[in-house]
């Protein structure tokens, strides 16, 4: 295995070579060259033998979709085949990416009932991007069953849908119908190439300049909580969302930019999430491809399920329209958040990423009339900037708390961290002087590093504002004169080259979402 993380020089060279091969291939064979490139990438970036798991997933969905189509007259057979395909794919995922569930559970039981064996992990590595391609495989199977997608009769084309190399690293999760353009031929487009590279550069900036820098601070605090307590815990709490965002969205920028160079548009994964004014809105703008997948294949089917409709209708009749809506929503949101948390592969995510948000959203929905009345009473101007800013900050803080479960090793440690966080404001622990006596520089970052973070955050906000107005900040830059455009990209390139955290002696953290 060679160094093939998407911020490595190896990856850049690979993308340039892949583009060359792709565009010199005759149009009708371009999908084959893309498949070849993806397989080569897989063998370079992961344990080559693990490709077998993607082949198995492809075989399952290939035959199940064709078989279900053949038996579309018999709803029960098609349904059974579809369910079997979903269960098989989910089971393979569960064996590898969900191993923490059964390892921790068996260990828990073993501690109480010694006769019960404590299980270890499988002696095989998981396939690269298993969490992402399994979602795509399930989505494809369901789409074919619903008739919203035509089953692919070419096995290798379907294999390409799962193994398309840019999205194997950190997603996004694509719907089959929206990724059909990978089978089409296309000519080289210089403008598209430039746009792709601009996006890759922006991704590098987010990951290497911002995320990796903040990681030093957060890791130092999390690695030594007995020394870094009090205000330090608050600093880690508030910086980690920024680290995660620049890490994850940076990787997605690189992935989407790579696909753009090849003329393929992958779904967006982020839409200025930190401008969200509620948690509900936040999750419509954060990891959008997973959210959309959960909405399409979990929430809607659950909401439309006969039992849900019956229950909702019963409650509506007994307790009124609002209660009925709340029950229906509650069931849908519960399953959505449970599966979203479950997908992350550990109990702690079910709590932090799933159930916490389920509770927040249900409470918000339940109390929203009361909150509205309270706002009226206090004379809050809901259109004002200050109120919107307050809501943004509130959403950010809720998100920060949920991420404690990302940072902690387990649920009990996360609870301990939350306790310590509240205790940090008590006398004897509360230490605000670290901002003034230079102690802030004892966690691995220099004052220059802090300046770089502040300046970078301003650039992020500026880009986010431009994105809101122009679709992409790049679109605004493209409207400017050549000299200015060049200055912008050269400045960004300089920031990445000089201030990026890479090179020997520096242990770049893997992308946080690469593990899923």
């Amino acid at each position: 295995m060679i160094q093939m993380t998407i911020t490595s020089l190896g990856f850049i060279i690979f993308v340039l070579a892949a583009s060359l091969i792709y565009y010199i291939t005759p149009h009708r064979f371009q999908w084959i060259s893309l498949l070849f490139i993806s397989v080569v990438f897989y063998c370079l970036a992961a344990e080559p033998y693990t490709i077998i798991f993607i082949v198995i997933s492809t075989l399952i969905i290939y035959f199940s979709a064709l078989y279900a189509k053949k038996h579309s007259g018999s709803g029960r057979v098609a349904f059974s085949i579809t369910i079997a395909a979903i269960v098989l794919n989910a089971f393979i995922w569960f064996l590898f990416k969900g191993s923490a569930y059964w390892i921790q559970l068996s260990s828990f039981i073993h501690a109480r009932v010694p006769a019960f064996p404590a299980m270890g992990g499988l002696p095989f590595a998981a396939a690269l991007g298993m969490g992402y391609y399994t979602c795509q495989a399930i989505g494809y199977t369901v789409d074919c069953y619903w008739g919203t997608a035509e089953p692919q009769d070419n096995f290798f084309k379907l294999f390409l849908f799962l193994i398309f190399f840019p999205q194997l690293t950190t997603g996004p999760i694509s719907h089959y119908n929206r990724l059909l353009p990978i089978y089409e031929g296309r000519v080289f487009d210089l403008y598209r190439m430039q746009r792709g590279m601009q996006r890759i550069l922006w991704g590098f900036f987010k990951k290497l300049v911002i995320s990796e820098r903040i990681a030093i601070l957060v890791n130092a605090i999390d690695g030594n909580r007995s020394s870094f307590n009090g205000i330090w815990l608050l600093i880690a709490l508030l910086f980690y969302p920024l680290q995660l965002y620049t890490d994850f969205s940076g990787s997605v920028d690189i992935v989407l930019g790579t696909a753009e160079i090849l003329g393929i548009k992958l779904p967006e994964n982020f839409d200025n999430p930190f401008f969200s004014q509620s948690s509900q809105e936040f999750w419509q703008k954060w990891h959008m491809s997973l959210g959309n997948w959960a909405k399409d294949y979990i929430m809607y089917p659950v909401l439309k399920a006969k039992k849900t409709l019956e229950l909702s209708s019963g409650v509506r009749k007994k307790y009124g329209k609002r209660a009925g809506k709340l029950v229906s929503l509650g069931i849908g949101v519960f399953f959505t958040w449970f599966v979203t948390g479950f997908w992350h592969g550990n109990y702690k995510y079910i709590v932090g990423c799933g159930m916490l948000y389920f509770v927040v959203m249900i409470l918000y929905e339940a109390f929203s009339p009361l909150l509205k009345r309270l706002n009226d009473l206090l004379g809050v101007k809901e259109d004002s900037f200050s109120w919107k800013l307050f809501r943004m900050i509130r959403t950010y803080i809720i998100f920060s708390f949920s991420l404690i479960f990302f940072r902690a090793d387990g649920i009990s440690e996360a609870i301990g961290m939350i306790r310590d966080l509240f205790l940090s404001f008590t006398p004897g622990i509360f230490n605000p002087w670290i901002f003034f006596d230079g102690e802030l520089l004892s966690a691995g970052l220099t004052d220059v590093d802090f300046h770089i973070i502040w300046i970078s955050v301003i650039l992020l906000i500026l880009a986010a504002i431009l994105r809101d107005k122009y679709g992409y900040a790049r679109n605004w830059v493209a409207l400017q004169g050549r000299i200015f455009r060049w200055c912008v990209w050269l400045l960004l390139l300089t920031l990445v080259m000089v201030y990026g955290k890479y090179g020997p002696g520096y242990h770049a953290a893997d992308f946080i979402y690469q593990g899923f």
Binding site: V448, L490, M497, V498, Y499, G503, P504, G505
Partner: protein
Amino acid sequence: MKKNNWLFTVIFILVVFMLFMGLSRILTNKTSEYRKAEFFNAETDFDALFFGASRIREAVDPIYLWKNYGISSYNMASAGESIQMTYYVLAEALRKSTPKVVFIDSAKISDEPDSIDSGYGFVHESIDALPINKNKLEAIDYAGRFFEGGRLAFLSMMYAYHDRYEELDKDDFVMKPNYDKGAYIMTTVLGADKPVHLTDEAEDLKGGDGVRYYQRILDLCNSKGIKCVLVDIPVSKKMYSEDRQRKLNALIKMTRENGGETIAFNELIDEIGLDYDHCFGDRGHMNFLGSEKICDHLAGYMMDLGIRDHRDDPAYSISWNEDVIKWSDRKVEDLSERTDAVDYMFWAADDDHKITLYIKDMDDLYDQYAMDFCLEKLGIEPIEADEKILGGYDMNIEVRDKNGVFLAEQFFKYNFSSGLFTVE
């Protein structure tokens, strides 16, 4: 329009390339270049070249060899350099120069397999200044196996040094020329225990990486008809173990079998008159006093080989004499970096310089190690002075040229715990 887009794209790529090269140039650590550029840009050829690690770098002063013997030489050694890197530096040096003799430091010839016996920064210091060619690529290919970052860490200066942005200073933007001919002569003074001969036995060499590369050095010198001399620079008793001597004996044997010669200075301590109370600059390296003894012996050896005095040869003397003056001026410029009073005076010492020392309390003067030795050696008579001259300090050292023109001065405080006069 389409043609224009391509044209501007090409121009943009060129601008990016220039930006990359410019930033790389600024961010690169210049130590290697600072030490070796003078060699690669030299107008005259050299009779002798010195290679190896810091021991030989600190022990051989080409300026001294020129001033006293008229020998044209260059010290190509660098700190922590393993013999493997020495081979590549030598190979590159012999493309530019045709010396009659090369001296190889015995300090870093490891006999371990798959070991470079050097640190990451040291490898950079050894090879950064070498021009990119097959020889350097081979060096990078070899060294890249041992360090994180691999070959890229030695190939791309941007990759290796981009995080130097917090250390940049004027010298990174305007390259300071160097005139010390590659040597790093220490002027601090420490004593050390004299080593004793421990064994005549030689170990069986296993043919580890270092020994293999040393064989390549011997072969290279033989193929070019250059005398190769293995030099064992004096060390303190603590560093002179039996294992070390057994290995050295084996290397001496190997050198002689391959037509080379050896100078084991640790066996010649009394013969060359090394004063172990004052000849070390730190625990592991000779200072200028030790260096003078080493150079005197090496000069005699070289003259026996037929290397002649070039002081009357304008082809050499014009540029060498200019460099000697420039080096003397540079030493004055660098005086501000000396923080210890003895070190300051020895660094400032020059035939053309007059040093005056003002002291608040004469009694303090002789607490500092080597202070009396220094004053006697340089013939300085300390002058007791009051607050008017010393301000709040305990000592002032003033340097003037032979015409009495002021060159530099430094104030020192007496540190009771260390017994030293140091800059605060």
